[in-house]
Amino acid sequence: MTDIVHVENLVKRYDDLIALDHFNLNIAPGEIFGLLGPNGSGKTTSINCILQLLAYDKGAIELFGEPMTPARYDLKRRIGVVPQQVAVFDELTVRENIDYFCSLYVNDRKRRRALVDEAIDFVGLGDFTKFRPGKLSGGLARRLNIACGIAHKPELIFFDEPTVAVDPQSRNAILEGICRLRGEGATVVYTSHYMEEVEQICNRIMIMDGGRVLAQGTNDELKRMIQMGERVTVEVGAVEPATVERLRALEHVLSVELSDGELVCTCEASPHNLVDILDTLRAADVALGRVWSEPPTLNDVFLEITGRELRD
């Protein structure tokens, strides 16, 4: 089946800075594709290039199997965009805003009215149709932002951090909505800094940094790519520094951190991690409380792949 998005060797430079360095991307129909990366990694730049908002230096972009150019309005009509910032008219009401953005894709007034009604229901803004954006709470404004991007029922939707500054209830509603859109046949490209969101809804994930793809695959595939196999956490009494050093010296232990009576050991995949750690602690007469083991999270994957140093 033809990929919905196909990007090959995309290069984008800002003077001396390479924002995208031979960036490649393939997204199959029906996927929710997560695009992860630290600030300045090139996520938004890549999306802006795909949408032809930004000029790029090199590379090829195909959408729906056809070359994408700035004048391909036929392709643009099949795309929906939910930008990071709430980008709507402050002077128009909720309904007028959704209707306007829908009109950029759908000419027929009657059909548009039905689509607008559907979008309003979809994001749950039925009680606010006559409100202007300035009168909406942050969460409601975000929902309006989404409604404006999806009202025309696009086949491909770009969500650029749609849940920033949104309360947990609204966030949950947004994520459920995205899954529903996929259920209706849409392909979704989703960028976020919230790893648990990406882990929850994306079936394929790409981690990028410095304009390059560092890793991509399913959630499980990504977790298998890193050294860490599990994280063992033990509630402990007093622990001598020598004991911590002995734990660090264990064969599969990658790191040990002790704080507030909690000992966290990250380990490579091994069937004996828990036993080895507990034996070491007992041998040092450390008082033990609760003990649990967790598989690595996407956050672990992200930090291991992109590094732990702070970014802008």
Partner: protein, 395 residues
Amino acid sequence: MFNTIITTAKTLLRRPSTWVWGAIFPVALLTMFMFMFANLSSDGKIDPVPVAVVADETWGASSFKDVATSLAREGDDQLLDVSEYEDLAAARKALKAGEVAGIYTVDDAGTPKLTLLSSYDGSRASSVLTDRSILETVASSYTQNAELMAQIAQDDPAALADPEAVARALSLEGGTRRVSLTRTTPDAATIYYFALFGLVAMMSAEFAALAVVDLQPNLSGLGARRCVGGVSKTASLAGIFVGSWLVSFASMAVAIGYVHLVVGVDFGGREGLCLLGGAASALAATGLGLFVGTLPVKGGKASKSGILTGFATTRALFAGLYGEPAMALADDVARACPVECWLNPVKLICDMFNRLYFFEDLGPFAVRAGALVLMALVFVAAATLIFGRSRYEHL
């Protein structure tokens, strides 16, 4: 595109700044002008000119006294306001005090003499010079007519027996034909109102400029979102142009309506054409706004708004909006560089309305309206070219 037109008009009309610049600003300025020029207008009439006369025996025996008395008779055509003084010293005192504009005396031969002050208040130059001109004309006309009668008495004394022949000789109609140069009575204030129409139109250029900023991805998130939509840049730009023009035209209609209904300028049945002129003015202004809006200048809305305000106010100077010295400057510039009248939209709009108001022939009005439409087309073409080719290195 239709929805873009409606949305543009709707968003502009819901912005307080649109009401400030599109309605409050013109009405406030026109009201100010109305009071400022109240003494200039008066429906083409002038106030009687106060003049002193020395009521001595010579004056009493002079036929010039009869002329002055008849011109001072109360009524719509009263030209003089005569005050009699016993002697020249009292009359001079009144002249120096500014109570009268001049002094009429009559010599032994019955010839009128006019005494004026050698200097006057520069701030009242216009009215002082007008008053002096009237007094001089009255005295010199009397002298010329008296000489004419003396000549007739010498050449053909019998002719003086025929009152009709005397009246014909004294009348201007004998040797001249009365021609009206303008279709309405010239009113010194109207030219300022028309210059203000030019300024109002150019201030409304901002509507298009601000609307087009909301279409540019590098200037607003809204612009980025609109540019990834399924409507071409040209169609979006056209929608913004038409929507902004509607609002700009509404602003012009408010100004024209106010001048007609409140200020009381009578367009003599050409109100429809006046609105047509307003539409052409709004078209040129919107074109300019679109062009400036698409210019790749730093600073976004603020700098574009600044450019347009600066442009409108400086162009208004060369249209003579800021009073008599500015009007004189505008006339000098027009004489020295006639092409400026066609390139300065404020001046062009002012001239267009002047020609509609004063000229019987509609040709000059149509030519100027056409020039404004052409100006709009040039601006729109340039804006389309700039915006259509723009791709962004940074967002």
